[in-house]
């Protein structure tokens, strides 16, 4: 059943009359703009072949007030501690300037360092936890304790076994150690070894790379593809090859650091549009076409739109049909980063292009990584043959970076063959379907319990909002006590008031594992008071009664 606060593509779903009042009075955020009811015209109704529900509910006002209160207290104590450190009343553990440099411009006085010293250090034990097994649906953690409040850690030597893994990007469950599954990988390891010791342009192109590239191109339905050794480097090293000075980059507000770094390295002009907001993007495109470059008023050499398939902090899916129609209208290029969406969405796991039922020719540059759904490492860029041939000669990664090592390439080949069904089994399709089922089940149960969840109902990335800084540490620690490993994120990866816990659902999770996690979340949600949602089943059970008698006069 759809959540009553859902607005799908401008069509409001009315289930009961009573829910109208909820919708009218509720203020929720969509696309970064706070709005009550939103009705698009019929123009978008024909672009989307199916409705998808995306919501970004806002918490009640008191939550924001209390969050700021928490940060205020933390800041006051931060200043107190800094004062004590400056006057020698307390030992200094963090990096600081030497005595001789005290008269220079200070290195460590901006807010980020203040925040790191005084707030991050207190809850630092929730990050960078070393694991000592394959990051499958369950994994083993090394137990570590701290004697001086997270400044230093020491390992006790014990391992915490079979912790349920809700943080790894293992969407299709290909991170496995089953000997039968890894037979071909072991064979390639014995044949080629591990090192390439060269770049793509010198002597680092193996037959494995060619095989992998043709397979990727077939998988995505494009003409050609090129693979690189590292996913981050794929973005940051190839965008400078594609655009330069005199070009315009229109990048989404919440793009990943690799895209931002690549855009800045290229030297092109960067303009930012609001997250997934097509009106903002259209306005920028119109201004770009009408006014041209800033001083000379010449036309831009190239206009390129940088978006991601699934945004990993929000769980939202890009509005691809609208972007493609905009790009065709204003003659711009589209660069789609499918790091989280390849393998994870779509009926057969081919990403957002398939999810929206579009043709891969609509997107000019298809980029993705093999780290998330394929259990390997590296990235690819796919598209027209001319584009990929150009990148083979002009990309920094091809010229300077070592190419992908053969066992990793073989792992990707076996995973992709499994997905496409070329290994003779339907295991790939089963995995995609299982991921879809797990995602929907997990999200539905979390909604019913009353948590605030961001993002699209089909995205396997599930951010659960925590808001207050004290709860970040408490949540992660208590979940670990219950043998569940989660990833929590706060400032600066998210806005300062919206810290969250991010769950990554995997096809390898069984229903029992998800139920364990959900029960633990239920308990913890009650104890920590995290169930802020005002539109869920938990807060308005009378609206969801299906067997209520209605008498009509």
């Amino acid at each position: 059943m759809a959540n009553p606060s859902a607005v799908c593509n401008g069509h409001l779903h009315h289930h009961h009359q009573k829910q109208n009042n909820l919708l009218k009075s509720g203020i929720y955020k969509k696309n970064g703009i706070t709005k009550g009811m939103k009705k698009n015209g019929t123009s978008n109704g024909t672009l989307y072949k199916k409705t998808s529900i995306e919501q970004f509910e806002q918490a009640p006002m008191y939550v924001a007030v209390l969050t700021f209160l928490g940060f205020g207290v933390g800041t006051i104590f931060g200043y107190l501690r800094d004062f004590m450190r400056a006057w020698g009343l307390e030992k200094r553990n963090i990096a600081e300037e030497r005595e001789q440099q005290k008269d220079f411009v200070p290195l460590y006085q901006d807010f980020e360092n203040f925040y790191t010293r005084n707030l991050y250090m207190r809850i630092r034990d929730n990050w960078n936890r070393p694991i000592c097994s394959v990051p499958g649906p369950q994994f083993d953690l090394m137990e570590r304790v701290t004697d001086d409040y997270n400044w230093t850690f020491r390992f006790t030597g014990r391992t915490i076994k079979n912790v349920i893994n809700m943080g790894s990007y293992n969407y299709l469950g290909f991170a496995e150690t089953d000997v039968n599954a890894l037979k071909t990988v072991t064979r390639e390891l014995q044949k080629y070894g591990t090192g390439i010791c060269s770049t793509r342009q010198e002597m680092g192109t193996l037959d494995k790379h060619v095989e992998l590239e043709t397979l990727v191109a077939t998988f995505l339905g494009v003409e050609d593809a090129m693979v690189f050794g590292m996913g981050f480097a794929t973005n940051s090293m190839n965008i400078p090859a594609l655009v330069g000075k005199g070009c315009l980059i229109l990048s989404d507000e919440l793009n990943h650091t690799s895209l931002v770094l690549g855009a800045r390295l290229s030297g092109a002009t960067i303009r930012i549009f609001k997250h997934n907001n097509m009106q903002s993007l259209e306005k920028l495109l119109r201004d770009a076409v009408i006014y041209g470059q800033p001083r000379s008023r010449r036309a831009w050499r190239k206009i390129i739109i940088l978006v991601e398939g699934i945004y990993s902090m929000e769980g939202s899916i890009v509005r691809l049909p609208e972007i493609v129609s905009l790009k065709k209208k204003y003659k711009a290029y589209l660069y789609l980063d499918e790091a989280h969406s390849i393998g994870a969405v779509g009926a057969t796991g081919r990403g957002v292009v398939e999810y929206f039922g579009m043709s891969p020719d609509d997107v000019d540059v298809l980029m993705g990584t093999f780290t998330k759904s394929f259990g390997a490492a590296g990235g690819y860029i796919a598209g027209k043959k001319d584009l990929v041939d150009f990148l083979r000669t002009h990309s920094h990664s091809a010229v300077y970076a070592t190419s992908m090592c053969p066992p990793v390439a073989e792992q990707i080949i076996r995973a992709m063959k499994c997905l496409m069904g070329l290994d003779g089994t339907t295991q790939g399709l089963q995995r995609v379907r299982q991921l879809g089922k797990n995602t929907r089940y997990f999200r539905r149960r979390l909604h019913e319990m009353g948590f605030i969840i961001y993002g699209n109902d089909d995205s396997p990335v599930v951010p659960l909002l925590l808001y207050m800084p004290g709860k970040i540490g408490a949540f992660a620690r208590r979940m670990l006590e219950k043998n569940i490993g989660v990833v929590v994120v706060g400032f600066p990866a998210t806005p300062i008031t919206e810290s969250r816990a991010r769950f990554c659902v995997s096809a390898a999770h069984t229903r029992e594992m998800l139920d364990t996690v959900l029960n633990a979340l239920d308990e913890l949600g009650d104890f920590l008071h995290l169930k802020y949602s005002r539109y869920s089943k938990a807060s308005h059970p009378e609206l969801y009664e299906e067997n209520r008698l209605e008498f009509e006069d």
């Binding site: 209390l66 209160l69 928490g70 940060f71 207290v73 933390g74 104590f77 107190l80 707030l119 207190r122 809850i123 409040y149 207050m468 800084p469 004290g470 709860k471 540490g473 408490a474 104890f527 920590l528 008071h529």
Partner: protein
């Protein structure tokens, strides 16, 4: 049984206070400082209320009583 759930509820309230004001993250001496400050402020506010509120309430009550009392006497005199 009720005492137990009451105690658990109070413990839960204390945990909420700790989480909201970030005192969950503080080292023990910082917590001591923070709680001392808070309790001192609370005690001062309560003491001020205890001393001043009854005096103010009774003064206000007398003021309103006089106001309505004078009015009553006025009407009586006009009728006479």
């Amino acid at each position: 049984m009720d005492i137990k759930s009451m105690k658990y509820y109070l413990y839960w309230l204390y945990c909420q206070f700790e989480l909201i004001t970030c005192s969950y993250l503080m080292e023990p001496w910082e917590k001591l400082l923070f709680y001392t400050f808070n309790i001192t402020m609370l005690v001062m506010v309560l003491y001020t209320a205890y001393i001043f509120v009854p005096v103010h309430v009774s003064t206000a009550f007398q003021f309103f009583l006089n106001l309505f009392g004078n009015q009553h006497e006025n009407t009586v005199s006009i009728v006479k």
